[in-house]
């Protein structure tokens, strides 16, 4: 048990860091502008991240599994550790870093080290999604902004009533956002452990089946929740001034748009519906919630006339698409070497 927890610790750390940072993407403005209390936000966010992870987390992590099926616990430990290290390091350097990109880089590092063939089609699907997700988020934000503006312009809602409706909306959007975050991003936290997970399926009666993967995701979800409670308040209080100050209604648009994107790239159910109607479906890929948020903010700026769009931030994001996975792959490769040759652990099985 201690050994399992030790190996999982790097993934749990990634989960903690995800909770600390990404909860602010969902509830940052709501809490920062005092529209929603921090503890209300933290409780809602934790519950729905957990539900999203356990119920809908499998899709995106399946795609990561196709990229590289890491088949030992010690290998998965190093891969997650390399990703965690890259995220921490690049955050300190002030770069908009994404856990998704770090973990993919680290998996590639493992593939190189173990001599496993990298599934190019899975890789292009993932990288394509990274580029596509902020663009899609901007589109949604543009659309939602105009819809909400149309409603506000044409309904005489009193400021006070609007205030309660906005709070209600921020909480609903937060629920959706938290669920989507859990569903989409649990793959980053626990995806690499799926192959080597020691957890067995639990059958409670004939109806309730709690699979080993779901147990793993539950653990990851708890780590995210701890991150939310212990550290996200600080990030939430600064999130407004970090990018730029959003009004509560703009924040609602941003959360809705970015959460829709995360949901689209995580929902197996939606994918099945689209396929059954012969429509193009979205690949299930973990994407960066921070980059979806930046996309949504740009979408709002464009909807407002596009005067204040900081296109330099787009440049920074695209650097991240390359720099983060490369750095993470190199770190993973070096760390795997030490794990195998200094600590004498099997980091892969041929």
């Amino acid at each position: 048990m201690i050994q399992i927890l030790f190996y999982l610790s790097s993934g749990l750390f990634l989960g903690w860091s995800l909770g600390a940072n990404d909860a602010a993407n969902i509830f940052g403005t709501a809490v920062g502008t005092k529209m929603v209390r921090f503890y209300t936000a933290a409780i809602i966010c934790s519950i729905f991240v957990l539900l999203g992870a356990v119920i809908s987390g499998a899709g995106a992590s399946h795609t990561l599994g196709k990229l590289g099926a890491i088949n030992t616990m010690s290998g998965a430990f190093i891969v997650a550790l390399a990703a965690a290290f890259t995220v921490t390091w690049m955050t300190k350097a002030g770069l908009p870093v994404s856990t998704s990109q770090a973990i993919v880089g680290a998996i590639l590092g493992w593939n190189f080290f173990s001599g496993t063939h990298t599934d190019i089609s899975a890789l292009t699907k993932i990288v394509g999604t990274w580029v596509f997700s902020p663009v899609l988020s901007a589109l949604f934000a543009f659309l939602f902004f105009h819809i909400i503006k149309f409603i506000l312009d044409n309904s005489k809602i009193h400021l006070i009533r609007l205030d309660s409706l906005t709070r209600f909306g921020l909480i609903l959007a937060g629920i959706f956002g938290s669920y989507s975050l859990g569903a989409n991003n649990i793959a980053n936290v626990m995806g690499v452990f799926v192959q080597s997970s020691p957890f067995k399926d639990l059958n409670l009666g004939s109806i309730f089946n709690f699979s080993g993967v779901q147990q793993l995701f539950l653990l990851g979800g708890i780590a995210i929740a701890i991150g939310i409670f212990t550290y996200s308040r600080k990030v939430m209080m600064t999130v407004g001034s970090r990018i730029f100050k959003l009004s509560p209604i703009s924040a609602l648009v941003v959360v809705l748009a970015s959460s829709t994107v995360l949901f689209l790239f995580a929902s197996q159910g939606l994918k099945d519906i689209l396929i059954s109607h012969g429509l193009p479906s979205f690949p299930l890929v973990p994407v960066s919630s921070s980059q979806a948020v930046v996309g949504a903010i740009i979408g709002i700026s464009l909807a407002k006339g596009g005067k204040n769009v900081n296109f330099r931030i787009l440049g920074k994001i695209s650097i991240g698409w390359v720099a983060t996975p490369v750095a993470s792959a190199i770190i993973a490769y070096v760390a795997l070497f030490f794990m195998q040759n200094v600590f004498m652990q099997d980091v892969f099985i041929k």
């Binding site: 005092k34 902004f145 909400i148 009193h158 400021l159 006070i160 709070r167 703009s250």
Partner: protein, 216 residues
């Protein structure tokens, strides 16, 4: 959530009620002066008392709104602006009350040939308050209309300004008024009446800015 909505309904009603009082204060101000200029002193005094009562009630409502906004943590983003608007609207009510009070205490003798101008000036000031009340309602419910009403406030203030100058020239150029002290006294009342429209304009300008801030 239901509790939140019922609580906000009360507050919404208080705010609407407060703006109604501003409008009513303008109306009583005008009707009171009309009574004064036509020598109906008894009716004038009734209006003065009515306005004093309205002013103290409005004060209480404003304090209640302020208290509720802070204790229920409502509209955190625009709370400061809303309180600013309510406080300056309260100043407008204060001015209407003070003007009638001064008329009541000092009972200035308005010469026949100036009465029409005084009455017109009072009407322009009243109209600026009326439009200000509409602008304030729009600020809470229909932002896009705020500017229309603010422009009307500007218009009436400008007209009041012009008439005030004309009136003051008439006061000082006329041979009919013998005492210098009487001229100064009349000028003082012309300025007091016109001051109401100035105050309405400054509140309207605040509203225009807050409306821009409130756009999403």
């Amino acid at each position: 959530m239901n509790g939140l909505f019922s609580r906000t309904k009360d507050l919404q009603a208080s705010m609407d009620g407060f703006i109604d009082r501003v409008e009513k204060a303008g109306l009583i101000f005008f009707e009171g002066l009309k009574a004064y200029f036509s020598g109906k002193m008894e009716r004038f005094e009734e209006y003065t008392i009515e306005l004093t009562e309205l002013e103290s009630k409005a004060d209480a409502v404003r304090r209640d709104i302020k208290y509720k906004l802070y204790t229920h943590m409502l509209i955190p983003e625009s709370r400061g602006d809303v309180l600013g608007v309510l406080e300056t609207l309260d100043d407008v009510i204060d001015i209407t009350e003070k003007v009638l009070e001064h008329f009541s205490i000092e009972t200035p003798d308005i010469p026949e040939f100036l009465r029409e101008d005084f009455l017109d000036l009072a009407e322009l000031s009243y109209k600026s308050v009326e439009e200000l009340a509409k602008a304030s309602r729009a600020f809470f419910t229909e932002l896009k209309l705020v500017n229309n009403y603010v422009n009307k406030v500007h218009f009436y203030e400008h007209e009041a300004d012009k008439l005030e100058k004309i009136l003051k020239r008439k006061i000082f150029n006329s041979e009919k008024i013998k005492d210098f002290s009487k001229r100064v006294h009349l000028r003082y009342f012309a300025e007091k009446i016109a001051f109401l429209s100035d105050e309405a304009e400054s509140v309207a300008e605040r509203l225009a800015i807050y409306a821009i801030k409130r756009r999403i």
